[in-house]
Amino acid sequence: MSDARQRMVARAARAIEPGMLVNLGIGLPTRVVNYLSSDMEVGLHTENGLVGVGPTQDYDHADRDLIDAGGAYISALPGGAFIDSAVSFAIVRSGRLDLTMLGAFEVAQNGDLANWKIPGKFSPGVGGGIELAQKAAHVMVLTTHTDRKGNPKLLERCSLPLTAKGSVERIFTDMAVVDVTPEGFALKELAEGVSLDDVIAATGAPLIIPEGDIPTF
């Protein structure tokens, strides 16, 4: 992982508060687990069937029956519980999940999220993302600020099919931390070495800029 991505993941990890039950989505968000301190009191849920996810395991220590939803070998914390897929999503849909962190193709300034389908190009299925995005108490996105071609992912309106409407509250990128507010995107923090002009140029919607010094991460 590049330094910028590592900083983004480390910054996102700081949004997890003690006592929370959290689901980390497939891709970059699952990396967040490695930035949580070993003495932190937090429950991680993986939708394939475990509450109490512990650190990832290398192949030599892997258990063939113990993976996360992305297929990575993981450990279970003492006190963790294995659950079937119906119970797993009962936890999600009934509102027991305090926070989910998900990847994104596009996020709109009203909090709409598109992360499951690019018509004609990429449609491997929605998995559990729709229920996580619609039902977790707080939804945060971890994504690069722009796609591989440099196009902004933070937009006035999503052009791709939606995963959930109006659900995203906060976005962590390799360039900035941006909140979704009733007035639109609000810049909160800048990544080290990134200028305000860089972020404005890489964002496809108006940005509300805070007065005074902008914190860095």
């Binding site: 892997a62 297929g71 999503f89 299925g125 929605v126």
Partner: protein, 230 residues
């Protein structure tokens, strides 16, 4: 009195499956996938199958062998992301794929196994994922009607079982297995640890025997049930 024995050879158990059958297959990734039963189904060659599974395993593993062998007409899944071969078949029109949100698939199967016709949920309301589904209004709020799923056959993998068909699953290999084991007319369970009736702790059983029709005791686990070094 004593409880009935349901142990069969893998050949006899899988021979219960006909051409054109609909089949639920347990597992989420490798854990809980009944690789031995799948391999026997590939060997016997039943055709025109409809499969219901969380995912399509990976290229060259599990149900991908059934896809490659031309035995599958339709696949109902939540996600194909780890199987590029299945995605190619879908994109070329060689395979019909129906996607379902993961927890909704689980709940549709649970409803089927519980003798219900369906349930209502607000998942996907306002997105294309709810398009084409019947809307039901309750107390002024809109929900989509999700229909129950049942199939002719379910293939499940258990960590431990007994000859009556009581099943225990291991860790994240539980996933869809106990749900699917309730939702098919003919349920076939494989396990490497098939114990005499009475040797499982009755309080530790995840799937009770009445749901299971055939028990296959495995001598060896299929080689695909191993650590995947990507």
């Amino acid at each position: 009195m004593r409880l009935p024995q349901k142990e069969r050879s893998i050949e006899d158990a899988v021979a219960q499956i006909s051409d054109g059958a609909s089949i639920m297959v347990g597992g989420f990734g490798v854990p809980g996938t009944p690789f031995n039963l799948i391999a026997e189904l590939v060997r016997q060659g039943q055709k025109d199958l409809t499969l219901v599974k969380n995912d399509a395993n990976e290229a060259g593993m599990g149900i991908d062998h059934l896809l490659a062998n031309g035995q599958v007409r339709k696949l109902i899944v939540t996600h194909l992301g780890l199987n590029g071969h299945a995605i190619e078949m879908m994109n070329s029109g060689a395979l019909e794929v129906e996607f379902c949100a993961q927890g909704i698939l689980a709940e549709r199967i649970r409803a089927g196994g519980a003798g219900l016709a369906g349930f209502i949920s607000d998942i996907g309301i306002g997105t294309e994922l709810a398009e084409g589904k019947q809307i039901v209004s309750v107390d002024g709020k809109d929900f989509v009607l999700e229909t129950a799923l049942r199939t002719d056959v379910a293939l499940v993998h258990a960590e431990q079982c007994d000859a009556y068909g009581n099943l225990c699953f291991a860790k994240t290999a539980r996933n869809f297995n106990p749900l699917m084991a309730m939702a098919a007319d003919c349920v076939i369970a494989e396990s490497q640890n098939c114990l005499p009736i009475g040797d499982l702790d009755p309080d530790a059983i995840h799937t009770p025997g009445p749901f299971v029709d055939h028990v296959v005791a495995l001598k060896d686990l299929h080689k695909e049930y191993a650590i995947v070094r990507r």
